[in-house]
């Protein structure tokens, strides 16, 4: 088993095929989208491949150390051009192929006009904590 992070972007990923922003959808289309996402997560819990998921607030700030005795420097709110993560799901699957297949299903969530969004999801393997002996 290997863990993968599926990253969903508000901004910064290549444009989706069906790229209408959510506030242009109808309430029913929004409901259908939410239901699809919830069903997907529930199905993965059922197959024993779901680890966790989190949505992130849209606002955020860059913060860094500014030297002894000084308060940290903030650079803030994110600029309009910044890559913006919307949230993530961690899955635990048998193969990279399976991870890609699931990301593809998630990307097929319905959007405007009930058509699949085809959004780009970033798939990142989590580094294992274990030392694997190779000799």
């Amino acid at each position: 088993m290997a863990k993968y992070l599926l990253l969903k972007h508000y901004r910064g990923a290549p444009a989706a095929v069906n790229d209408a922003p959510m506030h242009e959808w109808t309430p029913e289309e929004i409901d259908a989208h939410m239901q699809y996402m919830a069903d997907f997560a529930q199905r993965l819990q059922g197959t024993g491949e779901f680890v966790e998921e989190h949505a992130l607030a849209m606002a955020g700030t860059f913060v860094r150390y500014d030297g002894e005795g000084k308060p940290p420097v903030t650079d803030g709110p994110f600029a309009e051009t910044k890559d913006l993560i919307a949230g993530w799901m961690v899955i635990d699957v048998d193969s990279q192929e399976r991870a890609y297949a699931l990301a593809g299903e998630l990307s097929a969530a319905p959007g405007k006009d009930g058509k699949p969004i085809h959004e780009w999801l970033e798939v990142r393997p989590l580094l294992s904590e274990q030392l694997v002996s190779t000799d």
């Binding site: 959808w25 939410m34 949505a55 607030a57």
Partner: protein, 381 residues
């Protein structure tokens, strides 16, 4: 065995072990260990409280003996009382005070209260707050170190206890522990303490919890989407809980010493009293918000008051009241969107809803506000 009944025993068992000579921190640890052991066995002891006292005391002695020899010598002065039925006094109140000690952070007080007064295991508390069990264990032991120098019989601050219980209540539900129900259970026990009969705010908080809890089934759809108060199916409100909440509130108000929890409970009771949203007595709700503001003048109270004024005196009056509320108040934009729509400006309301969705603090709230914006855009065009 019945988990609630078992959990009710925990603070009493801790008190017995403390009376026998253990310090609070060690007693609490020993009782937690005994509780976890009891939860793992299938057969219920005939006298669970006596069993817990015996096992916890033994665990306490073992733990202490494994520490330094000096402590062991000191301990020999405590001879173990004969086993048998523990005295049945409810000395839970000092534990409420200690676990909600003003020196603790809210998160620490909540965790310690749930464990020592609520009788939950560390694992259950960790699940309820979605943190690793080791994190919660550390939070609890740090909390115990913080109050290490305080004795169980010190007088406490009931106001702090109520704040802690209200925090637990508002955390809602995750994992297999229903924190709202747990908060109600703990507040019920507190309200039953004879020495607090003269504290109407205790019963005010209990009433507030009961009246809010009564609406829970109607508050979300099966899929977890928010249902605003005006759109809730009122037949799904729990009438028994509402009736109890109203009785408890009347008893509190009759003491003639109103406070913030009684005022909030009165507002909840007025909502519960309306058969339909249109029958809501908004002018009286505004009056209670004024009362509430006299006790706790927070931006959140002013925000809710502005919305109530919008219902009582029309959206323009509501927007005028909202203009007085600090810009940074959470949900202010959502309230502005709601009142702006009532005032007839759908286009601006849609923009405000979208703005509010971007600032939402929960998934359910974000989705709800996004859909409000979508609804208006599709009707405005």
């Amino acid at each position: 065995m019945d988990a609630d009944r078992l959990r009710d025993l925990i603070p009493q068992v801790i008190a017995v072990v403390v009376r026998r000579g253990a310090d609070f921190a060690s007693a609490e640890d020993a009782v937690q260990d005994a509780l976890v052991q009891l939860l793992r066995t299938d057969d219920e002891p005939r006298d669970p409280k006596g069993w817990l006292v015996t096992v916890a005391w033994r665990k306490f002695l073992d733990a202490t003996r494994s520490e330094s020899a000096r402590q062991a010598r000191e301990l020999r002065v405590h001879t173990e009382p004969p086993p048998g039925q523990a005295v049945d006094v409810d000395d839970t109140l000092p534990l409420y005070f200690l676990c909600a000690h003003p020196s603790l952070t809210p998160a620490s007080a909540v965790a310690l209260t749930l464990r020592a007064v609520g009788g939950l295991t560390t694992k259950q508390i960790a699940e309820a707050y979605l943190v690793p069990e080791s994190t919660m264990a550390q939070r609890i032991s740090r909390a115990k170190r913080t109050i290490g120098d305080h004795r169980l019989d010190e007088p406490g601050d009931v106001g702090v206890v109520l704040r802690v219980l209200y925090l637990v209540f508002n955390e809602g539900y995750s994992g297999d522990v229903d924190l709202a129900a747990e908060a109600i259970r703990l507040t019920r026990r507190l309200a039953a303490q004879p020495s607090l009969a003269g504290e109407p705010e205790v019963r005010g908080l209990l009433a507030l919890m009961l009246l809010h809890h009564a609406r829970r089934a109607a508050r979300t759809t099966a899929a977890g989407a928010l249902v605003p108060l005006a759109e809730q199916d009122r037949t799904r409100w729990d009438t028994a809980l509402i009736a109890e909440g109203v009785v408890v509130l009347r008893g509190a108000l009759s003491q003639g010493r109103p406070g913030e929890y009684q005022a909030q409970a009165a507002i909840a009771a007025l909502h519960a009293d309306a058969q339909t949203a249109d029958e809501t007595d908004w002018p009286q709700i505004v009056e209670w918000y004024d009362e509430l503001a006299a006790h706790t003048d927070s931006p959140v109270v002013r925000l809710n008051r502005a919305v109530a004024i919008g219902e009582a005196d029309g959206p323009d009056a509501g927007l005028a009241a909202l203009a007085e509320v600090d810009e940074a108040t959470p949900r202010r934009t959502a309230a502005a969107a709601y009142l702006t729509e009532k005032a007839g400006d759908r286009r601006t309301a849609a923009r405000l809803y979208a703005e509010a969705a971007a600032a939402a603090t929960s998934v359910a709230e974000r989705d709800h506000l996004t859909k409000q914006a979508a609804r208006l855009r599709h009707r405005a065009d």
